[in-house]
Amino acid sequence: MSARYGMVIDLDRCTGCGSCMMACAAENNVPPLQQATVRTGLTPMLVRKVSNGLEGAARREAFIPIMCMHCEHDTPCVKVCPQQAVEVDKATGIVMQMPQRCLGCRYCMTACPYHARYFNWWDPSWPAGMEKSLNPGVAVRMRGVVEKCNLCHARLHEAKEKAAATGKREIDPADYVPACVEACPTGAIRFGNLADRNDPASQDARSPEAFRLLARIGTEPKVYYKSKEAWVRALAESKSGHGPETGSEVQHG
């Protein structure tokens, strides 16, 4: 039976520390870009700050980690890619990006409703000698291709190899945990197989506090969020964007 990997992020527990962003970049050999800006950076996992738009004591803020939502239905990036460089893996539900096929047209970036795709504007580079600290399980991507979260696919490979070495067909769920999930100090990100109704993540996704961003467009994203705050849940269908000056801050009012 094929899996449908996804995650549920408890926004009431996200403190916006940024550990997930750092762990993601280190795991996936995403280069540090000193010349980049908020617009041109590579952040497959990006934590945005949102507010209820009020000021003073009534102001409330929350943090929303945004990454590829791994849309299940009519996946927008898959539909527009002229190179077949994006596909939804039937066995896992992971939206895969193949940099070798990508020609850098960036149609997928335009099509993605979540702005979760990033273009490699520069040759990947690290300070001299620092390539020794790169993760050997992940290849470095070239300038001119689009990148995004692939749910730490290298870790899934490792889990499969481990299972195969012991003669098993199925992986142990404990062996496949994406870096952001592992790094979260509050355990706000729960990862699992959403197709398995007994999986804790799947159960979380069905809770009344769970929601998905822009669910109305019908792409069936596999990243869920949950919050007890009504104003946070209302953000899911917000049509307001983020201004160039505020960078990653989104206001809901």
Binding site: D10, D12, R13, T15, G16, C17, G18, S19, M21, M22, A25, A26, V30, P32, L33, Q34, A36, T37, T40, G41, L42, T43, L46, V47, R48, A57, R59, R60, E61, F63, P99, Q100, R101, L103, D123, P124, S125, W126, P127, A128, G129, M130, E131, K132, S133, L134, N135, P136, A139, V140, R141, M142, E182, A183, P185, T186, G187, G247, S248, E249
Partner: protein, 555 residues
Amino acid sequence: MKVTRRDLLVWSAGAAAGLVVTPVPWKLLDDSSIWSQNWPWIPQPTRGPVEVKQSACTLCPNGCGMRLKMAAGWPVGVAGGSSHPISRGALCPLGFGAHQLNWHPERLRTVRRRATTSSWSEAKAAFAKACSEGPVVIIDGYPGRAASSVLESFNQKRNGSYRVVLGRETRALAPYEAWSGVPASALGYDLENAQTIVSFGAPLLDGWGPPGRFTRLWAERVAGAGPQLRLIQADGSLSRTATRAWRWVPVQAGCETALAAGVARVLLEERLVLARGPMPPLTLVDAASQTGLTTDAIRDLARTIVAHPPAVAIANDDNPAIAALNVVLGAAGASGGIVRRSKPATSYVGADAAIPSARAVLIDSSVPWDFARQTDAEVFRFAAWDGGSSKADWLLPAPGFLEELTDVPTAPTSAIETYAVAPSLVKAPAEVQSAAQFLSSIDPTLTTAEKIIHARCEDLFRGRIGTLIGRDRTSVAKLDSVQKFEEQLWKGAVWVGERSRPDGLRCELQVWPTAATSARPESWSATWPAPVLPPLASKLYKESSLREPPERRNA
């Protein structure tokens, strides 16, 4: 043969149809794409056998447990060590890029004397000469380590001064030391048993103590595990901790002292607490006008604090008024409050205190880069990275991340004693030396840090108390030999002492303290004492606007 127009059309149509069905052009396109993405200047990860090692982070005194993925002998990934009893698998954001630091462009590799290249022999000669000419002050930023003992021993032999740069968490415990005689370094917060925590600007969820300790506890309680934990954050702005707190009390910045006095006055006037303490001289009206709150809001806050005991107040820095509030609350020396750890600890003299006239000042690499004292003495500054402008006369390259064997004593805010060892997992460049190695080369009679660690392990083993927590939990009393004890520590296990009785701390307070400092705003990377940030930190403040850009030059 004559080529007709018809032949040309047929040939063209055939070629077009053939192009569609033959794989050659598609294969060429694919190959050229792959070829163009494998330029020789694109960095290639190190290949080699992969293994996982457990250790502890040595970047700051919190000593969080770490799990390092090593390839061909180099660390290629960092994750939190889930078995660590204090950090519980969490790291600060910077910890995830710590393995890159040893290749940071600002890594120090040569001895420098006032911006000119020098040598270790010249530095040793200059320091030895200074020692023979007058007293020496040694400043440590991470006290309690075996290396710290080497620094102290060197000083004792020369009647010099040993000073410590204390973190803000330890500075916040200084008033209790003054009132009880128990060293601040022996005190901790029993957060696990508290049900109401009032933070006066302390960033409890953003860089206060080991990142995993309170954030894990808070998250578990938010999720409904254990009794409810009410986190009340009095803050001048909607900080990260305030956004997630059970209640945010917006006060004017710098008015924590007045708020503490106002709350204590209500507690005492309305007899809301059993413990007795001195009445603050500040009236409730004055407290309200200073904090920007109403008198009713302060009364409500006081009643809320005592509604779910045990309650404890936490200051962001040395603030006697907030410590006095804890005395009034009965939180000093009580379960869920400020407790004394089981082991007696040394009372350190802070580096903020006046430094006597000295011939030379030696600053260990653990001291935050921005620490600077006005002195006429010759300054020998050890550092692994160059953080920018420095007033040091000598800049001496020190070992970087996990390049030297060190031990990890108890984290500053912990309520229980812990001890761990961080072995040298990365080969250090030949040209670096730690301050302890430097002093040992000048005075060969000093005991080395390695021997001190061995002696400490023997002491803990002979004590027969506590538990070793690694992959398994093993009582020290059940271990056969000190070799097995040490072996476990070297593999990443952590020794945990027994929880102390909370009544080991008694504070005598007759008069409400007047001298107080207000909480100082701290940079998000303030708890990390090294002068540079991992390059990947650009994701946090440059490639996103999640964090404010750090003030340090070489961030």
